[in-house]
């Protein structure tokens, strides 16, 4: 008890100290990203989204308040991510953690935030159970159940009754597989089989060949966005899966907007479910794309990861504006729980206070060639989708 009181006293002294220097206040945010490793490409997308928002909106911060992002590379490896997060908390004394591409990395970091009591704002990692690990986790991206389950249901509606799934063998892959099978079989479809392959696999042709040899109506294929997605598209094309009468569906990771030019014509006619596409017709999206093109001079194309980073940065900046830069971890979490943004580039979004995950519109998109370019065109919108997994698996 005595020591507890002592700690409290010390803590108040520390807070006093920070109040006196409030005139030139710096908020430190730990930014954990995959700068190298097999997710470096997604990391680059995320980085660009954050940088763009920070560049455009730093001037909007209250006078005297600055935000400093302390950047660390998790290399896509959970143990590295955990270590850098720990260092950010203990060494750099950051007030908040943000970022993370890979679900395993996020899952490794999450327990630390429960101990340190600082918010952890996830801008990509979609592993469905991660927010349950710590009450300080909130997520601005998506879960694979939000995207993969609807595409399962939608597939059966097209009259495709026999399905096959092929996913990368790690948390998000398992989520995607489970969600698709749930949606597909609940709607009356029948699974012919499923394969899981190593997440950092090099050559997908043997796996795709196996799908081809199984002759399903529809194949759900999921890999993390980036090089693997392009490679798998190429394998689908080279093996002539669609020519063999097999429809390909996926979550948006398979056809991220920035990879479309790399994929080209052979990526046409694939149906994916996602929370964002550059072709979405919304004023907020148009403005976002304009700012993006000005900043990156047409050399880069944003995707759902960029938008998630952008939206998360927006929420954090609003938090700082509202609190004038003075907030505790719990206050920040309360702010995020009530977060609503009707004008995100991806449409209306809000945080579900119960799950700390996004409630957002999910778009069913078909890829097609328009003016010589491959694009995702929205063909159906499912409004305000909550994470279905958390409803199916209520906390014990």
């Amino acid at each position: 008890m005595v020591s507890g009181k002592l700690l409290f006293a010390l803590a108040s002294v520390a807070t006093l100290g920070s109040v006196t220097t409030a005139s030139a206040q710096t908020i430190k945010i730990g930014w954990v990203n995959s700068y190298s490793g097999f997710l470096a490409q997604a990391g680059d997308q995320m980085e660009k989204g954050l940088n763009l928002y920070v560049k455009l909106h730093s001037k909007d911060l209250p006078p005297g308040v600055k935000v400093e992002f302390v950047r660390r590379d998790d290399t896509g490896a959970p143990e590295v991510g955990k270590r850098v997060a720990q260092e950010l908390i203990t060494r750099e004394r950051v007030q908040m953690l943000m970022g993370v591409v890979a679900s395993p990395v996020a899952a490794a970091i999450a327990p630390l935030t429960a101990e340190a009591k600082i918010p952890f704002v996830i801008t990509n990692a979609g592993g469905v159970a991660i927010p349950r690990i710590s009450p300080y986790v909130t997520r601005f991206s998506f879960t694979l159940w939000q995207t993969a389950l609807p595409i399962g249901t939608w597939s059966v509606k097209q009259g495709w009754k026999r399905g096959f799934s092929a996913v990368a063998d790690f948390i998000p892959g398992h989520d995607a597989e489970g969600a698709f099978i749930k949606g597909f079989t609940d709607a009356g479809g029948q699974m012919l089989g499923s394969v899981r392959f190593p997440p950092a696999s090099a050559d997908y042709a043997p796996f795709m060949q196996r799908i081809k040899d199984a002759k399903p109506d529809v194949a759900f294929v999921w890999v993390p966005a980036g090089p693997a997605a392009t490679a798998i598209m190429k394998a689908i094309k080279d093996l002539g899966l669609r020519e063999a009468g097999i429809n390909i569906v996926s979550a948006h990771d398979l056809l991220p907007d920035e990879e479309l030019p790399n994929i080209g014509a052979f990526g046409a006619d694939i149906v994916t479910a996602g929370n964002y596409s550059t072709t979405g017709v919304r004023p907020a999206n148009t403005a976002f794309l304009k700012a993006w093109d000005e900043e990156y001079k047409g050399k880069a194309i944003p995707n759902f990861t960029s938008v998630a980073a952008w939206d998360a940065a927006h929420a954090i900046f609003e938090l700082i504006k509202t609190t004038k830069g003075k907030f505790t971890g719990d206050e920040a979490m309360k702010f995020f729980a009530a977060w609503k943004d009707p004008n995100s580039p991806r449409g209306p979004i809000s945080i579900d206070p119960a799950t700390r995950d996004m409630i957002q519109d999910i778009y069913i998109r078909r890829s097609e060639m328009k003016n010589g370019k491959l694009v995702n065109t929205d063909i159906e919108t499912i409004k305000a989708v909550k994470d279905p997994w958390k409803e199916l698996n209520p906390p014990k």
Partner: protein, 333 residues
């Protein structure tokens, strides 16, 4: 007789000098003094510090097989990883007592060492190098496949390590972890030091220096190599378990080729077969990596790589080798 017969005094002095070689020198206290001082000087770097201490133990285990027994291995991560997963799986499934976790890890790694060593140590040279590599790669694939136990590519989540002796809790700042690693490393070092100075250890040096002659003086070479391989595996397993317990996480990369390769690199940088190469090479490499990664998260590989090429071109025999040469030169003058 044509030769001078040294006096009885000379004989006594020679024998005394020879039989006292295992005694402690003052400089052997240096690493430990530095380690304790580092605790007070860099309180914000204890997480890195405890990792360095654990990896030093790993490097010591490699030095034992490579530097003393002359077994070139590119797969020692196998034992590090088995140790890490053993301690990790125990802690994730309700047995978080750290010290018994270390022991379990040592036993598991030693068993794998015995079993694989029995098969692969009959080969030599590049073939042996490949065999060590392949053993580690197989364990990697198995760990990936055994998703239910290991968490596969997602890593082993949900480890809960109990306080040491029920008293010292592993805190986020790494105070406990640092001293825990320091004490375990100290005991590990004592074991390695005692081993290399024992008759067994000297016979290993003999095997490295001239296998043919060891056969010719009647040494059971295969048996010695197997024993030291298993002992080294056990130490590597403890190092892996330390890493797992202090980070409270185990990922597949405890078993990968990069880990086997970089531990070799760290040891070569320090100097092999000298017992203290690990104490120089590991901190140097890991601190450099930490600094580079912070200054330049994308391109730290470049500077590490450049340093490695520089060392091999200009500093043959590692840092310790250079120090020894300088000492030898100053002694001559």
């Amino acid at each position: 007789m044509s030769h001078l017969t040294p006096s009885a005094d000379r004989r006594a002095a020679d024998i005394a000098a020879f039989s006292r070689r295992h005694r402690f020198h003052w400089f052997e206290a240096l690493p430990w003094l530095i380690a304790v001082a580092a605790y007070f000087m860099f309180p914000n770097y204890l997480a890195l510090g405890s990792q360095i201490l654990a990896i030093i133990l790993f490097a010591l285990s490699v030095d034992l097989v490579l530097g003393y027994a002359g077994i070139v291995t590119l797969g020692h991560a196998a034992f590090f990883g088995v140790g890490a997963y053993t301690a990790g799986i125990l802690a994730a499934n309700g047995w978080g007592e750290p010290i018994s976790g270390l022991l379990a890890a040592a036993v598991a790694a030693a068993c794998i060492g015995l079993a694989s060593g029995w098969i692969i140590l009959r080969t030599t040279g590049l073939t042996l190098l490949m065999q060590t590599l392949v053993v580690a790669a197989m364990l990697y694939e198995l760990a990936n496949k055994a998703y239910r136990f290991t968490g596969g590519a997602d890593g082993l989540q949900g480890m809960s390590v109990w306080p040491i002796f029920g008293t010292f809790r592993f805190d986020m700042f790494g105070n406990t972890a640092y001293f825990y690693c320091l004490v375990v490393l100290f005991f590990g070092w004592l074991v390695v030091r005692n081993t290399v100075n024992s008759s067994f250890g000297r016979s290993l040096t003999g095997i490295r220096e001239n296998v043919g002659r060891m056969h010719a003086i009647g040494a059971p070479v295969a048996q010695r190599r197997l024993v030291v391989y298993a002992l080294s595996a056990a130490l590597a397993g403890i190092a892996g378990a330390l890493t797992a317990q202090t980070a409270q996480f185990v990922g597949l990369n405890v078993l990968n080729l990069e880990r086997s390769g970089t531990i070799l690199v760290m040891l070569i940088i320090g100097g092999i077969g000298r017992l203290y190469g690990a104490f120089i090479g590991v901190p140097l490499y890991m601190i450099a990596q930490d600094r580079f990664a912070e200054a330049d998260p994308t391109y730290w590989y470049f500077w590490i790589g450049l340093a490695m090429v520089f060392i091999v071109v200009f500093l043959r025999g590692g840092i310790f080798g250079v120090v020894e040469r300088l000492l030898a030169r100053s002694r001559k003058q």
